[in-house]
């Protein structure tokens, strides 16, 4: 069994770590398994990878998956155009006969050839079609891939810590799921939210935090809303409240008074719904 050289992941100053998630991250690191995180937007899936990298002092490599992306794009690119150009005009220092000079590593490739252990974040894998996942299966399993053009196998020098996020637009394929550890990040409960707020606004007044969080969770209950406000919206909203000199904590939520509603609800339909809702209730 390989010795565990890395220290355990403990969370960072601005990332409030749920003990359950901490355990899951550390187990995945120890087992050297990719960790698949699902959950509604704004639950800190992407931030987790950054926090891991920061806390363990590792570099972070982010692969932002796009809908038309192919697996090979994430591994390497063979720059045929530059080679053609060099072959025609011959004014570069590259050796046209050596294809290897025209191979560029993609994000996964970079993570593999890196001289030290890195954190590899594959963000929103569900955006690409299922072929993408299937093609990555073996790569992540074996931690190696083959550059077909020059028939060279790239093997990870250090197995990266792989974090994969998904917004669950599509279900991921079973074989892929089989090779990952899985966690679903639920929306934080009010207690957790207090800690998160404390981490972002260390000197916030307790009263303001209390009533803001209370109002925030009320606003999440507004019916028929397409996109509920998430943590990100709450933090921005608090920022707005703190910047407003005329704002008084006591009045928040009284008589349906919720300023800067547009920060919480970003779709016009949702905003209407929220306004309607507020006009119907007296005190939140």
């Amino acid at each position: 069994m390989e010795k565990r050289r890395l220290k355990e992941f403990e969370g960072t100053k601005t990332y409030v770590l749920d003990p359950e998630l901490k355990k899951i991250v550390n187990i995945s690191i120890a087992l050297e398994m990719p960790l698949l995180l699902k959950g509604e937007p704004g639950t800190g899936k992407t931030l987790l990878a950054q926090a891991i990298a920061e806390d363990l002092g590792l570099a972070l490599i982010v692969l932002n998956v796009k809908s038309n992306m192919k697996a090979v794009d994430a591994l390497y690119q063979y720059d045929t155009l530059t080679r053609l150009n060099d072959a025609r005009f011959g004014d570069s220092k590259r050796n046209v006969k050596n294809i290897e000079e025209y191979i560029r590593m993609g994000k996964i490739g970079q993570a593999f050839v890196s001289e030290s252990k890195v954190v590899l974040l594959i963000d929103e894998i569900d955006k690409a079609d299922s072929d993408f996942q299937d093609d990555l299966l073996d790569v992540l399993d074996q931690m190696s891939f083959d550059i077909i053009e020059i028939d060279k196998i790239i093997k990870a020098k250090h197995r990266p810590i792989v974090i994969i996020t998904s917004n669950a637009k599509k279900d991921l394929s079973d074989p892929f799921l089989g090779r990952c550890n899985f966690h679903h990040i639920a929306f934080p409960d009010p207690d957790m939210m207090h800690k998160i707020i404390k981490a972002h606004f260390p000197d916030i007044e307790q009263n303001l935090a209390n009533s803001a969080i209370k109002v925030f969770y009320q606003m999440r209950k507004v019916p028929n809303v397409e996109k509920k406000p998430s943590t990100r919206e709450l933090i921005n909203w608090l920022r707005a409240l703190l910047l407003d000199p005329s704002f008084k904590t006591k009045e928040l939520g009284k008589n349906g008074n919720v300023p800067y509603l547009g920060v919480l609800f970003k779709k016009s339909m949702d905003l209407e719904q929220a306004k309607n809702y507020l006009s119907r209730v007296e005190n939140l």
Partner: protein, 399 residues
């Protein structure tokens, strides 16, 4: 370790592979699991691959660790595990060998029977080692009670709400909303929508992709390489017929309307009609079922590959379905029985499905069981749950 737990999870329908189970054993061996809480989290993250099963997992976990004492794995159960190991082995020998820490080359020499014996011994060895060991659960392997201060009743330890005993956490059933059983409601509507979005066909690969062709050709040193992409295919037309007669249907009507309204972009056209209990000579475009009748016979003019989705509880008095004058709506003109018209519709639209808000388990025992059974002979019926919707979509998408 925990072989019965593994089987209990499998028995309730959570898809867990032996590989994942072995991975859990590996995690236990690494000394990462030091308490029942740890075990709860570790086992879930390794074994369970979808939040839909988290609730079920919680239930089983609570039942398993609260209820019965843990038994050490019986010979027979071990054998079963070994058998599934063998299946896994055939699929991917190397992976399994890695897990057990054995040499795949050496194992190739064994016959299947010998292999089973070998696995069995290997597993027993593991079990013994765990039972005797002091690492993580020790003799607590046969009873988690009393380990590191966890009260069997799941009393909370410490002040913070997060620091609960695993059983307590499990009993809370935080993941209930994500479970797949239980009828749809507004909270699961976005999940339902995702399933409905699968209802888009993809065409054959017969359209020349010029961009990709040029790229591949250049890559191929000028040798022409032609690339085809899937043809854009017409989106589906959907006809939705909903029973809005009884109060029992009310919550689901609004739900289905919203569902299909939001999914509208994915379809070429969605037409909605209403009926009461059963379909006879007319269906109605208005929910009051008065102003805009449409002859059921007219549907023969619709394109036959239109998808017909009927939403209704299919529960009524038998004569409403079978009798020529069975309609209970006063003043509605009727020439043929409901059964006749349903058959007519199912013949007109080969791709059809009936969504029933009554749960599948109830179908045989509910008041309308007779009519449900008769209608099921005509339409494939699915219950209006996430799972049912998924199956219905899979059925409807078939060519």
């Amino acid at each position: 370790m925990f072989v019965p737990f593994f089987y209990q999870l499998r028995n309730v329908g959570i898809p867990i592979t032996p590989t994942a189970f072995l991975r859990l054993q590996k995690a236990l061996n690494l000394g990462l699991v030091n308490s029942l809480e740890d075990f709860y989290i570790t086992a879930r993250t390794i074994l369970i691959k979808s939040e839909r099963y988290f609730d079920l997992y919680d239930k089983i976990f609570a039942q398993y660790f609260l209820g019965v004492e843990l038994k050490s794995p019986e010979e027979k159960e071990l054998e079963e595990l070994v058998r599934s190991l063998l299946e896994e082995w055939l699929k991917d020998p190397k992976q399994l060998a890695d897990f057990l820490g054995i040499d795949p080359e050496q194992l190739k020499k064994y016959s299947p029977d010998e292999l089973i014996k070998y696995f069995l011994e290997k597993l027993k060895e593991q079990t013994e080692r765990h039972d005797g060991g002091d690492s993580w659960i020790g003799t607590a392997g046969t009873s988690p009670v009393g380990h590191s201060g966890i009260h069997p009743g799941g009393m909370r330890v410490g002040g913070s709400s997060r620091n609960k005993s695993a059983i307590k956490v499990a009993l809370e059933r935080r993941w209930k909303d994500y479970a797949m059983d239980g009828p749809l409601d507004t909270s699961s509507i976005s999940e339902a929508l995702k399933r409905l979005r699968h209802l888009t066909p993809s065409g054959p690969k017969d359209q020349l992709n010029i961009r990709e062709t040029i790229y591949q050709t250049v890559k191929n040193a000028g040798e022409i390489e032609i690339v085809f992409s899937p043809r854009l295919k017409d989106k589906l037309k959907v006809i939705l017929m909903m029973d809005n007669g009884g109060w029992s249907m009310d919550p689901y009507i609004e739900l289905c309307r919203t569902l299909f309204k939001y999914a509208n972009d994915n379809f070429k056209q969605v037409k909605t009609y209403y009926f009461h209990n059963c379909i006879y000579d007319y269906v109605y475009e208005d929910p009051q079922r008065r102003a805009k009748p449409r002859k059921t016979l007219d549907f023969v003019r619709e394109e036959p590959d239109t998808r017909l989705i009927i939403v209704g509880d299919a529960s009524m008095a038998p004569y409403e379905l079978t009798h020529d004058q069975g309609c209970i709506e006063y003043g509605e003109y009727q020439t043929k029985s409901g059964l006749h018209w349903l058959k007519f519709l199912s013949q007109t639209f080969p791709h059809s499905a009936w969504l029933n808000p009554k749960l599948k388990e109830e179908w045989k025992y509910t008041a309308g069981s007779y009519t449900i059974a008769r209608i099921r002979e005509i339409f494939p019926m699915f219950d209006l749950t996430l799972e049912g919707l998924e199956q219905a979509v899979n059925h409807l998408i078939k060519k």
